[in-house]
Assembly symmetry: C7
């Protein structure tokens, strides 16, 4: 159970400094540490790794992600692929 989630952005606020899984449109995913976000859901990940079609990985380090390409952001540590 999760407490203290009143608005959707509360989840992102709680996830600051933690690892998140970001699902992008076009079957791209990124994992990394959430550093910042804004109301457009633009986000910044540190130590980001890009995963395309579950296969290839590419380290892109510190990364600015535009919100409109994001499907979901999952900060749950129990996420398994």
């Amino acid at each position: 159970m999760v407490n203290g989630i009143e608005r959707p952005l509360d989840v992102l606020n709680n996830a600051k400094g933690k690892e998140v899984l970001v699902q992008l449109k076009n079957n791209r995913q990124m994992v990394g540490t959430l550093l910042a976000f804004d109301i457009h859901i633009n986000i910044v990940l540190d130590n980001a790794k890009e995963i395309v079609e579950n296969d290839s990985k590419r380290s892109v380090g510190l990364t600015f992600l535009r919100g409109d390409t994001i499907i979901f952001i999952s900060p749950a540590s129990m996420a398994n692929k």
Copy 2:
């Protein structure tokens, strides 16, 4: 029959804390417990499971979903696949 639905967001308000089926664009679906939503239809699901093309499942736990990728949200408990 459903009572007390004046505006579309009333359905989401009534579904808080309950399991919902979320149909996303590109044949993705998610099921999970609706924790929060805003006027952009950004939503938060707890214990979310992703279903792609009716086959694969992936548990993503607590998840923030951007509204613009959502086709429909169905809180009906009688939904059968």
Copy 3:
């Protein structure tokens, strides 16, 4: 002939409580009873059934539909497929 349609939303207002056919992008359709709508054309259907490519049906019960996936909404009872 139809009377009293001054603005497009008048059609939706008149269709409240009646069955409608909703054509979505990507060849999805839904039929159900229109309960509510807003200016974004977000709508709520009760007893909704989803039809994909004229074949499969899935009952999804009470459903919130985001407006930007909707092509047309037809409340006409004489609609034949």
Copy 4:
């Protein structure tokens, strides 16, 4: 020659009560009598018929069409297919 067209919406205003051809994205077309429109180019057609890929027809009667799926609206009676 056409007189009295100062702004694009004048064409739609003049076409009220007349048959129009509506070209939608994804190769769909509709023909029907234009009853109403708004600044988002949401429109209402009466006695609407849907034509997909120039072949199949489906009568959908009174229909609300969302503006963002519309490519063009042609009220010209001399339109030939």
Copy 5:
């Protein structure tokens, strides 16, 4: 050389009453006489002809075109295909 073009819409203003080529998304083109436009680049063409993939032609007469399907509008008389 072209004089008096301070803002992009000046080109459309100068083209009123003249033939224009309109390139739409999805490989559609239209030619016709530009009668009107607004800031959304919604336009009205008279005597419009639709050209799909450089082949088929369809006369659609007077036509209202929604701006968001337009790639470019070329009023130049020296346009050759």
Copy 6:
């Protein structure tokens, strides 16, 4: 090195009257002389030539381009294909 670029639109302002390469969505490109632009990145090119998939060319002369189909605009004279 480039001096005096404080904001992105400064690049377009400096490029007025010069040849630019415009990359559009869907593998279209245009080259031409930049005459005007606005904050929506609607632009006007003079002596525009359209290049599709690096092959075919079509002279379209004076052309109004809607901003939302533009990926990038490159005024650099050293651009090589």
Copy 7:
């Protein structure tokens, strides 16, 4: 670890004058020196090189990129492909 990132745009501000990797929609990438950006994430790159599908390269020099085609911007020097 990264310090001083309060808002997403702080990352872009820190990257001014440095090389960045820009992932665009449709499998295009650009590398270049970030000169400027605005709140729409329109950016200017100097000495930009375009990479399509990891293969072809095209030098486009000074380039204005529209924000809505950008997926992510990575200023990290340790990015490896």
